[in-house]
C-alpha cells in the first residue's frame, strides 16, 4: 500500500499500534513472566519472597488435592467428550436436512450457549435439588428414587458432566453443522446412484469430510475441560469431599484464599503445559485422521 511515507507513516504506525501493544505487554507478557518468576518463590503477599527452586512444582505434582483434581478432570473429559460429540453429530445431521423449521431449531438449541454459567448453574442446582428438584420429581413418576445429585459422592461428577453437555451441545452442533454444509452435494449424489444407504453415506462421506470440524471441537473441548471452573464453583464448590474439585479451582483457592502465590503460579504453569501438550499431540496426530482435501 502507498500513502504517506517517512516520519508521518511512522507516527501513524505507532499511534495505531500503541494501545494494543501496551495492553498486551501490560496484561499478558509482563504478568506471564512474573507468574513464571513467582512460581519459583514462596511468596505469600505479606512477607518477602525467597527463591525455592522447583519446590512448588514438586509440591503441585505430589499434593493429593492437586492430583485428585487432575484425575477429576480426566473423568470429566472421558464423560463429556463422547457424549457431546455423539449428540452434536445427531443434532447436526438432523439440522442439515432440507425441511421446514430447521432455522427455528437452530436458533433454539443455541440459547444455553449464550447464557452465563452462573445463571445456568443456579437453575440446575434447583432442578437437581434433592427435595424440591424437578429432575427427581420426574424420576419418581417412573418409580425411581433419585439421588441428591450434587451432594452425592458418586453422582456429583456425572451431574456436572450432564449439565456441561446440556450447555455446550448447541455450540458443538452449530460447528458440526457448518462443517456438514461445506461438504459438496456431488459426493452424496454419486453415493445415491451407487445405491448407498443413509448410514453408509454418513459413515463414508460425512464423517471423513467432517474431521476438520471434529478436530476443532475436540481441541476446544479439551482446552475448556482442563480449565473447568465456573459451573463447579457455583454448583458444588468442588464437593462433596473433593469429588468435583478442578485444577483452576485449586489455583483460585491457593492464590486468593490461602495467599500461596508461588504454588498457585506453579499450578497455573502446569495447567498451561498440559494444555500446550494436548494441543501439540493432537496437532501431530491429526495428520493420521483429519482429511483436509475435499
Amino acid at each position: 500500500m502507498i500513502g504517506h511515507n517517512g516520519y508521518r507513516k511512522a507516527l501513524v504506525v505507532i499511534g495505531f499500534l500503541l494501545p494494543s501493544l501496551l495492553g498486551l505487554l501490560l496484561f499478558q507478557f509482563i504478568p506471564m513472566l512474573s507468574s513464571l518468576a513467582i512460581s519459583f518463590t514462596d511468596w505469600d503477599l505479606l512477607t518477602k519472597a525467597s527463591f525455592v527452586g522447583w519446590d512448588n512444582y514438586r509440591f503441585a505434582l505430589h499434593d493429593e488435592q492437586s492430583l485428585k483434581s487432575l484425575s477429576n478432570i480426566f473423568l470429566y473429559i472421558a464423560g463429556y467428550l463422547p457424549s457431546v460429540l455423539v449428540l452434536g453429530l445427531l443434532l447436526a445431521s438432523l439440522l442439515n436436512r432440507k425441511m421446514r423449521g430447521v432455522k427455528f431449531y437452530r436458533t433454539m438449541v443455541f440459547i444455553p450457549v449464550i447464557t452465563s454459567w452462573v445463571a445456568v448453574s443456579i437453575v440446575w442446582r434447583w432442578l437437581l435439588n434433592g427435595q424440591s428438584g424437578l429432575v427427581n420429581y420426574l424420576l419418581s413418576l417412573i418409580g425411581i428414587q433419585g439421588p441428591v445429585w450434587l451432594q452425592d459422592f458418586f453422582w456429583a461428577m456425572p451431574a456436572i458432566i450432564g449439565v456441561s453437555v446440556w450447555k455446550d451441545l448447541g455450540y458443538v452442533t452449530i460447528i458440526l453443522l457448518a462443517g456438514m454444509q461445506d461438504i459438496s452435494e456431488d459426493y452424496y449424489e454419486a453415493a445415491i446412484i451407487d445405491g448407498a444407504s443413509a448410514w453408509q453415506k454418513f459413515r463414508r462421506i460425512t464423517l471423513p469430510l467432517l474431521t476438520p470440524s471434529l478436530f476443532f471441537v475436540i481441541i476446544m473441548s479439551l482446552i475448556n475441560g482442563f480449565q473447568l471452573f465456573d459451573q463447579v464453583m457455583v454448583m458444588t464448590n468442588g464437593g462433596p469431599a473433593g469429588q468435583t474439585s478442578t485444577l483452576v479451582q485449586q489455583i483460585y483457592m491457593n492464590a486468593f484464599q490461602s495467599n500461596k502465590m508461588g504454588i498457585a503460579s506453579a499450578q497455573s504453569w502446569i495447567l498451561f503445559l498440559i494444555i500446550f501438550l494436548v494441543t501439540a499431540v493432537q496437532q501431530l496426530l491429526q495428520k493420521r485422521w483429519v482429511i483436509y482435501d475435499r
Binding site: 495505531f16 495492553g23 450457549v113 427435595q131 460447528i175
Partner: protein
Amino acid sequence: MTDKHMRLKNSLSHIILLIATVILIFPFLWMLSGSLKNSLEVVKMPPDLIPQVFRLSNYVEITKYFPIYTFLGNSILVAVVTTVAQLLVCAMAAFIFAKVPFKGRDAIFFCFLITMMIPTQVTMTPLFIVFQQLHLINTYAGLILPGIFSAYGTFLLRQHIMTIPDALLEAAFMDGASHFRVFRSVVLPLTKPALATLSIFSFMASWNNFLWPLIVTSDTGLMTLPIGLSKLQGRWATEWNILMAGNVVSFIPIFLVYLFASRYFIKGVTMSGVKG
C-alpha cells in the same frame, strides 16, 4: 426414495429435534416460572408448571437481598465499554497488520498470536497484584481494562481487512486522504460484518465473564451480575424464587441481543470453528 418414505423420515427428525429443543429450553421456562412463584409454591411437590398467581413482586423483593439492579447497571456498563473499546483498539491494530507494512511488523504480529495461547489462569495472579499496586481493585477500570485487549479480535479483523483490495485504499490516498481518514471512511465501513461479529462475541464474553470480576471485586456496589448472583446464591442457597428472579434479570439482556443478532452469533461461532 419415495415421497412417503421422505415424509416419514422428516417427521421422525422433527420429533427428535423437538425433544432436544424442549430439553435445552425447558430450564429457562422453569426459571421464569419459578421467579413468579411465592416461597411455598416454589418448593411444592408435585410442582405447578405455571404459577397460580404471577408474583411479579419477587423482582422488587430481591433488592432486599441484593442490589440486583446495581449489578445489572454494572454489567451493562462494563460490557458496553469493553466492547466499544475492544472494537476500536483491535481495528486500529488490525489495519496496520493488514495494510501498512513496515520492518518488523510480522515479528510483532507473531507476538500477538502467541498471547492467544496463554490461559487466563496464568496471568490472573500477577495481574491481581499489579492492579492492587495501582489501586484498581474494586474499580470499573479494574473490571474493564484487561478485557479490552484481544489478540483474537485483532486477528479476526486483520483477516477481513486483508480482503479489501489495495487499489481501493490507494485511490483514497491519491485523493489526498490521510491514514486516519482512510481507516475511518474506507476500512471501517467495509469491515462492518466482522465488526458486528466481534462486538457480539466481545459483549457476550464480558457479560458472562466470571473468574476475573470475581477476583477484582469484593465491593457489592461494583459487582457484575455473575458475581452478584453467585454471592446471592451462596448466602440464600434455597430461596429459589428470589434466585430465579435474579437469573431472569441476568438472562433477558443477553437474550434480547441474541434475538436481534442471532445471525452474527452463529456466524461468529462457525467462523472460529471452521477456519480455526
